[in-house]
């Protein structure tokens, strides 16, 4: 099972990964938390969710649209967004939409080719859990995610942008 | 004839394989004849096994330049072995000498990519 890093405030920490990633070929285990593909979820998710005995997550590939989950989101514990290659940036938009447009409160997890170079972008787009593929430690992840003292554009995180900082400075300067 | 070339990671310099090492000058490159295909492959493999030393090793075809020596077949590889043609004092050609002259006089059936194992450009 891949190691899992979760964000707690601004700190990344090791976290226990209780979810089993079920591929479309696997049988769904008798018990325990599972992450299913979108297709599998659409076919079997209702039954799993109504059993109420375990948590369910869905794995979204880059070409799949998170809009397909709109109805079920409140019941999902995890949405795992896949990076088959780290240069495939569609999952950033998916994360953005989950948080901004659907106000999804559960875990948004980055899986696949996940490198610490992406940490800052991921956190800003609303990811809060990561399965790093480059052996990154939580320390390295925290450092990478907070490398920049300033940001220029509004994103999902609540960071004040450069324009906000300047507005504060202008106000203080005027006093 | 063939040689094996790459760029050095730390500075990007064009280098050539010579008996287990990477050297700067085309004139110092180890030459392989057609029967030495395995040795060429071994040199490329050695390059790929040293990713902190060089980037992207590959074999190039060479051609005889009448009375002057050998030169890479392709234009691209000749320019790599010499330097840019608009600045004749920049790059390896600045040193001058017989090797540079041979490459400058090479002509004929050039391929624009000198790669023997032609890698598709992405």
């Amino acid at each position: 099972m891949p190691k899992l890093i979760k964000l707690v405030g601004e700190q990344a920490q090791w976290a226990e990964n209780t979810f089993v990633n079920v591929t479309d070929e696997d049988a769904i285990p008798e018990a325990g938390d599972v992450i299913l593909s979108l297709t599998r979820f659409q076919a079997e998710g209702d039954a799993l969710l109504s059993s109420n005995s375990r948590r369910v997550g869905v794995r979204i590939e880059p070409a799949e649209e998170v809009e397909a989950l709109a109805y079920d989101l409140p019941r999902l514990s995890v949405v795992a967004l896949a990076f088959p290659k780290y240069r495939d940036g569609r999952a950033y938009t998916s994360a953005h939409l989950l948080r901004e447009r659907f106000a999804y409160q559960g875990e948004v997890r980055a899986v696949g080719d996940v490198l610490q170079e992406q940490a800052g972008f991921m956190v800003r787009c609303g990811f809060d859990a990561f399965e790093p593929n480059d052996g990154a430690t939580p320390e390295a992840w925290t450092k990478a995610a907070n490398r920049f003292r300033h940001v220029y554009q509004r994103a999902v995180d609540a960071r004040p942008i450069a324009a906000d900082e300047r507005a504060v400075q202008a106000k203080e300067g005027a006093l | 004839m063939k040689a094996v070339t790459a760029n050095r990671l730390i500075d990007g310099e064009v280098v050539f394989w010579k008996e287990g090492a990477w050297v700067d000058g085309f004139g110092d490159a180890q030459l392989f004849d057609e029967a030495q295909g395995e040795a060429v492959e071994a040199a490329v493999a050695a390059g790929k096994a040293a990713p902190t030393v060089i980037v992207d090793p590959y074999p190039i075809d060479l051609v005889a330049v009448e009375g002057l020596g050998l030169a890479p077949v392709s234009y691209r590889e000749r320019i790599r072995a010499l330097g840019p043609t608009n600045e004749l004092l920049h790059g390896k050609q600045a040193e001058g000498g017989a090797v540079v002259e041979a490459i400058r006089h090479a002509s004929g059936a050039a391929r624009s990519t000198g790669r023997v194992d032609l890698i598709r450009r992405k």
Binding site: R87, D88, G89, Y92, F148, Q153, R166 | P84, T85, N86
Partner: protein, 552 residues
């Protein structure tokens, strides 16, 4: 000019440290070349034929003297004493070592320069009219909006791993000196009937393998909604742009596949869902940025300078320079001065470190400390007093910078080509040099008039050959360098894609073929027609016949 504040500066420091960390990890073997390559590219560092090449961003082509001097210093210290201006208003250094790159970025950051997003599949450096803030034609200053986009696009968390690179260009004037119709997004500042400021938004233009003049998808976007609308365009592209084939990944392919109307509809639909209050820049920040560009301290001067008129009458060289390189300024008594980097025999767009220093000195002493790079690979001193023109011209002349050929036949755009570039199929620079020598006679060049020749060493079209009056594309024909000519393209407000003339020619036949094309034009020309106008009137055939009849 926009001045970096402590926020911009700390940002650059952080970026520089990040890159140093990445280089260290690469050299230590902790990152593979495949992992490192996209990271170095996002800092403008390519591995080319002879060395690494560093592309430094010149946001909207605008520099001050201190920055120009620092570029000269980098050229001297880490390169071979020269730099190359690109068709995206950036500067490239050809002989960089990976181990020096972090130090160079530190040195550049000290003068508010960087190489962020000058390559990679992200939003690239925004380009703009090099006459911004100086031309009377201007509806609004495009630098204001370019700076807004610079900040918004810098390390954009959602749009840094797009299907392919993404280039935005802005003009505030009707004369298009920024090639906005052949960019991923082209923005033209316009006023609506009610006087409100807005943008005409053109999406999906481009060159490369499949050239398109971009369609307009919105005729009047309120200026204050720029960022939310860009977000909508980029989001539609990020989700739906092709990622299976690198040659079909640019937004132009998506726009062409969907049709401009459907693409525009999807953008509107996405835009309607965006919280504009959050996405768009507040009035305060916009006013701050606008203020930075509005403070140019012009003097009140008479429109006519007796000093200049007398000097022009006495010096044919100055008169020629004035005819070709001096352009009208919005303020009486000032002029825009183009500094050609296309002297006969020179590598198009190259400036030596000494030349950069000279131009920096001129900008500081005579030009309100403002200097521009054009997409035609020349420099501009945008604010020179007419009274100072004789002195400025004399200094330019003494340093090989007074070639009076702007937009003439020897003002050739050329990419670095196979002399430097790992992607090229053929050389571009020697072809440009041949043609410039063929048309070295300045009287003849002026007789020929405006004629834009552009040369690319491969189909990626960095040399803009598709939008040249005469375009030249280097191809590899059975191992030899051949050149395909095309006619009738334009990257300006009358944008069009050139048509291929006929079979490709060997290198030594290119300049003679251009000569034949020019003769054909001159004998067919009516009145004041430019080459492009004559071509558009008479079509390809007479030119084709002339060139290939001779070749037979």
């Amino acid at each position: 000019m926009y001045q970096y504040d402590v926020i911009d500066r700390e940002f650059l420091t952080d970026r520089s440290n990040e890159f140093r960390h990445q280089v260290t990890r690469r050299l230590a073997g902790e990152l593979t070349e495949d992992q490192f390559k996209p990271l170095r590219l996002m800092n403008g560092l390519y591995l080319q034929l002879h060395a690494y090449m560093l592309r430094v961003a010149i946001p909207y082509g605008s520099l001050n003297s201190r920055q120009a001097r620092r570029l000269a210093w980098v050229a001297r210290t880490y390169d071979k004493g020269y730099g190359h201006m690109t068709t995206r208003q950036n500067i490239q250094f050809n002989w960089i070592k990976l181990k020096d790159a972090p130090d160079i970025l530190d040195a550049l950051a000290e003068v508010d320069l960087h190489a962020i997003q000058t390559s990679g599949n992200c939003i690239r450096n925004t380009t703009a009219d090099p006459y911004a803030g100086a031309t009377a034609e201007e509806i609004d200053d495009p630098r204001v909006w370019s700076e807004v986009i610079r900040q918004w696009s810098t390390l954009h968390p959602e749009f840094s791993y797009l299907p392919r690179k993404f280039k935005i260009a802005i003009t505030g004037a009707l004369t298009d000196r920024a090639a906005v119709k052949v960019h991923d997004i082209g923005l033209i500042l316009r006023r609506a009937r009610d006087g409100s400021l807005g943008f005409e938004v053109i999406v999906g233009g481009g060159q490369g393998r499949t050239p398109y003049v971009g369609p307009t998808i919105k005729h009047h976007l309120p200026a204050s909604s720029l960022l939310s609308y860009l977000e909508a365009v980029l989001r539609v592209y990020n989700r739906h742009g092709r990622r299976d084939n690198i040659y079909k990944a640019r937004i132009k392919i998506l726009v062409a596949a969907l049709g401009a109307e459907e693409f525009g509809r999807q953008v509107e639909e996405e835009w309607a869902k965006i919280d504009q209050g959050r996405a768009d820049l507040g009035d305060l920040e916009l006013a701050r940025i606008r203020g930075a560009f509005a403070q140019t301290p012009f003097e009140t001067l008479p429109a006519r300078s007796e000093v200049f008129e007398a000097a022009k009458a006495a010096s044919p060289a100055l008169a020629r320079f004035a005819r070709n390189n001096v352009k009208p300024h919005k303020k009486p008594g000032y002029a825009i001065v183009e500094v050609s980097l296309k002297a006969v025999g020179q590598t198009p767009g190259d400036a030596t470190a000494d030349q950069l220093d000279v131009v920096a000195d001129l900008a500081e002493r005579y030009g309100l400390d403002d200097l521009r790079v054009t997409h035609a690979q020349n420099l501009v001193l945008p604010h020179i007093k007419l009274d100072d023109l004789p002195a400025v011209h004399a200094i330019l002349e003494a340093n090989g910078l007074a070639t009076a050929n702007i937009d003439l036949i020897s003002d050739i755009i050329a990419c670095p080509g196979l002399d430097y570039c790992a992607l090229a199929n053929a050389r571009a620079i020697p072809i440009a040099q041949d043609i410039a020598k063929t048309f070295a006679d300045p009287d003849r060049a002026e007789t020929i008039g405006e004629l834009k020749i552009k040369i690319s060493g491969c189909i990626n079209a960095c040399g803009h050959h598709h939008v040249a009056h005469i375009g030249i594309l280097g191809v590899d024909k059975k191992g030899e360098e051949f050149y395909q000519l095309s006619l009738g393209g334009s990257g300006a407000e009358d944008a069009s894609i050139g048509k291929i003339l006929g079979p490709a020619l060997p290198a030594d036949k290119v300049a003679p073929a251009i000569d034949t094309l020019v003769d054909t034009y001159l004998s067919a020309r009516q009145g004041e027609e430019r080459f492009l106008d004559t071509y558009r009137r008479v079509g390809l055939e007479p030119f084709k016949e002339a060139v290939y009849a001779q070749a037979d």
